[in-house]
Amino acid sequence: MNKQSKINSTISNDVPCPFCGILCDDLVIENKNNSLKVLENGCAKAISSFEIEPSEVSAKLKGKNVSLDEAISSACKILKKSHTPLIAGLGTDVSGMRSVMELADKSGAILDHMHGNGLIRNTLVLQDLGWMMTTMSEIKNRSELVIFAGTDACNYPRFYERVIWNENAMFKKKNDDREIVYIGDNLNSKSGINPNGKRPTVLNCKTEQIGEIISSLHALVSGAVLDVKEVAGIKIKTLQTLAEKMKSTKYGVIVWAPGELNVPHADLIIQNFCETVKYLTRFTRFAGFALGGNDGGMTANSVCAWQSGYPLRVNFNKGYPDYDAHRYSTQNVLKNKEVDSLLWINSFNSDINSPRASIPTIVMGKPETKLNFKPDVFIPVSTPGIDHSGQIIRTDSVVSLPLKKIRQSPYSSVHSVIKQVIERM
């Protein structure tokens, strides 16, 4: 046989990208000798995530190379001995999360996602007064006025291309007549400039003040007279103009990103958005849209909800699911020593890593994961949507995408590793 390796190249179309919550699924990716290149429709995040070459690493016990089998046995021992494990990170796909749920039930664990702080801000609003929401295709085809509140959506690089300045919209004649508004702290409003150069409306304020502005808009659309000259530094006339637009639009959307509202009681700001939307719906159509769900966040939250009844964060230690969005945060249970072992899972990236805790720690991460400590067990895992097929849920928690296997990988999936742990327990 010819020793020179033959160039083996395959091109995959319509590849779904699991690396942010809006799940673009039109990527074209070439696999040449098991190296990937994004040929079309990749944002910077997708390109760096798909094109990273997996390092060759072995499973490790306290930094020492061991076989996968030994690592799984050690993980098993830790979890068996543990009274209350914390299973956190939860960067995985649907089947990974299904096995996490089984393991949590079996081991009496507490569950939280790496983006739990953002996730629960929305959950608290849903559980308090509810909301009216919309999804990406509706925004794309229907929206006339889009208000970005506390986010510029820049963490979701193709959001504008796909649903704001999209070429085709079913219920609009032109794609450039969408009104864009930003409310927040020095948001990047460049993407909000329409194809003809029309600039968006920008209401600059501190993140803490967004709620105040939205409440004032709520008051104005309900006909109240505000006896002030300005609110949070914004002239009342500017707010009145915006309120009129909100009332007269046929389909308006308020977009927020719960994970980016890093201020105390951000859920109350989100509730302001939602209650304003509800009020506007008395006479026109308006809806909310939340950007989030990165790194399997929406998947973890949804699977947890259908299998346990509760969204994250849940504790299985009493033999039944016990839900507490605040108490069972990774930060709290580590600080309060409510857990005596940690299993950290992130199969999507090596940027968000396990906290260093003074309890036995198992890390299931990408092979290139660099930690500032040596966990008791490290198990390299494959990446959903690159190394194995799977399913993942989009930020709107309605659409889910099938993930493809587009590369051979020597590593096991989170699902397969956890299944082995469960079998040995």
């Binding site: 796909r162 299998q307 309605v398």
Partner: protein
């Protein structure tokens, strides 16, 4: 390997067996004829004093999909009083109105149900609906794809595409979403709500498309017929919950023009406007129309008193109903140019005139419709009540004195406004076996389920006959799934995974050309990724796909 159930009293309406003592033989998961006398029987169950029926089938229960999961997430208070511990065999979870998938599967099996069908699978959300159903153990499942307010379909109707093309689209949807039937909810109304219309009667037009619900119903009924889909078009009609909607429902029955139509949770569509409160029972008129039109089947959507949550694709009517939310929180969504949903928690109160009359209307419908083959026992779980209240509902139907006792406790004016006290009918076990087994299986085209004849899948439920039918139906002695004993004395003894039932109607794949264009221009996922592979359902190891034949 043969299993024999002996000395039991068998109710098998498909074979006209009405409480006769028969032996039942099971081999390799199927019911089989009596083997020759030299064949060894491996296991015999003495069913003396027991009632044997096929496993029960619920053809309308919201067990999986986005809106159910919203209900779960929204209502921690629903679960807190009904937590379920893990056991050696079963996983932990919780109820009550919006139970976890695992708990729902266990509870259905423990009640003697062996198959459950999700009636409102949004195509855009079908993948998740299947994931949730896959995580619902014990029972077989399947789902009806919900169309009729999706823009692709409405554009077809508006541009006067011929019926063949519409049928191709419907066939494509069934295949792509792995559905077992087609449902329509507030035909065209979910779309109309997105254009800020707040009501839509049968002959009113969706203002954007200029299409009426009647046109949508006719097009979809024809498609269902042409594709040979066994289950008739599953219709959640216009004006749900609106006083006076009895007229709309009667007109909807006429709109069927003799074609087969299943009208679901008809109780919510049987309201008149008589009396001081301008809210009255239309049950008698509806029952008369159902009795006269053999092409019509219905399920009731009985309400029972207490806290529950309403989860529906009908965003228009759920928005209108949100003022009555209890507790005061609710969700309405516009979804993917495809559909919508609304989730509104609700408490039915027995001393409230409207709620009490709703209760009576449902029972009147059950008792006034003559043919149990065309009326199915549902509470539209969880919309009228959680499915766990079925045994109570069966007692209300089978026990007149119990029913009248209950009637005497509800709102007095409502009791007086209802004809319920004057109805003597009591359902027999045979009729219960029809409406909870034989009839739903027949309606769905499940030929080897819902009966106990040779060749049937051995999904079998065994009860002890008790005077108190609620007790009897709450706790079967034995439940067999595919011939395996899975429940003993109302408790799970073996965890199994049910199959997913689907159809593969034939249609012209040429429809994908226009669908591809549409997806590329307007959707936010590609056509290829929209379709659900068999592997996605099977791979997880949670069961298999059974493709039911088309007619």
């Amino acid at each position: 390997m043969y299993t024999k159930l002996t000395n039991g009293k068998v109710y098998d309406p498909v074979h006209g067996i009405n409480g006769e003592y028969r032996d039942i033989y099971i081999r390799d998961g199927y019911i089989t004829r009596k083997p020759s006398s030299n064949v060894k029987i491996d296991q015999t169950y003495d069913m003396q004093g027991k009632i044997i029926m096929a496993g029960a089938i619920d053809l309308h229960t919201h067990i999986g999909g986005g809106k159910v999961n919203i209900a779960r997430m929204m209502l921690p208070e629903d679960h807190k009083a009904d937590l379920v511990n893990k056991t050696e065999l079963t996983r932990s979870g919780c109820g009550y109105a919006a139970p976890s998938t695992l708990t729902a599967g266990y509870r259905y099996a423990e009640m003697g149900y062996t198959a459950c069908f999700e009636p409102a699978m949004l195509p855009a959300n079908a993948r998740q609906a299947h994931m949730e159903m896959a995580d619902t153990p014990m029972v077989d499942k399947g789902a009806y794809a919900m169309i009729g307010s999706d823009d692709f379909f409405l554009r077809m109707l508006a541009s006067k595409k011929d019926q063949a093309a519409i049928s191709d689209y419907v066939g494509w949807i069934i295949n792509a979403t792995q559905a077992l039937g087609i449902k329509v909810v507030n035909p065209g109304g979910i779309s109309a709500f997105k254009f800020n219309q707040r009501q839509l009667d049968l002959d009113e037009q969706n203002q954007h498309y200029g299409i009426s619900p009647r046109e949508i119903l006719v097009a979809l009924m024809r498609a269902v017929t042409e594709l040979g889909i066994p289950h008739p078009l599953h219709v959640h009609g216009c004006n749900l919950g609106v006083p006076g909607n009895v007229e709309t429902t009667l007109e909807t029955i006429r709109a069927a023009e003799g074609m087969r139509m299943h009208i679901t949770h008809i109780q919510f569509h049987s309201y008149g406007t008589e009396g001081d409160k301008q809210f009255s029972s239309g049950a008698a008129e509806i029952a008369e129309a159902v009795n006269k039109n053999p092409n019509i089947s219905i399920d009731v959507g009985q309400i029972l008193f207490g806290q529950t949550v309403t989860a529906s694709g009908d965003s228009m009517r759920q928005y209108a109903g949100h003022w009555h939310a209890h507790p005061k929180k609710w969700v309405v969504m516009d979804i993917e140019c495809d559909a919508g949903c609304g989730v509104v928690p609700f408490k039915y109160r027995d001393k409230n005139f409207v709620n009490a009359l709703q209760w009576a209307i449902g029972l009147e419908l059950f008792l006034l419709v003559d043919d149990p083959w065309r009326i199915f026992l549902t509470t539209d779980h969880p919309n009228g009540a959680p499915f766990t209240s079925y045994p109570h509902l069966i007692r209300l139907l089978m026990d007149k004195s119990f029913r009248n006792d209950m009637l005497s406790t509800i709102n007095k004016e409502a009791a007086a406004a209802s004809t319920l006290s004057s109805i003597d009918r009591e359902y027999s076990l045979y009729e219960i076996a029809i409406m909870t087994r034989a009839a739903p299986a027949r309606s769905l085209g499940l030929k080897n389920r819902g009966h106990l004849g040779s060749g049937a899948v051995a999904d079998i439920t065994v009860y002890t006959d008790k005077k108190n039918k609620e007790k009897m139906f709450s706790k079967p002695d034995y439940v067999f799934k595919n011939g395996e004993l899975i429940v003993r004395n109302g408790k799970i003894v073996k965890v199994v995974q049910g199959a997913t039932h689907t159809l593969r109607p034939e249609f012209d794949m040429g429809i994908e050309k226009s669908l591809n264009l549409y997806f590329d221009k307007y959707q936010t996922m590609s056509l290829g990724n929209f379709k659900i592979d068999d592997d996605e359902i099977i791979e997880h190891g949670n069961g298999k796909i059974i493709v039911q034949p088309c007619m």
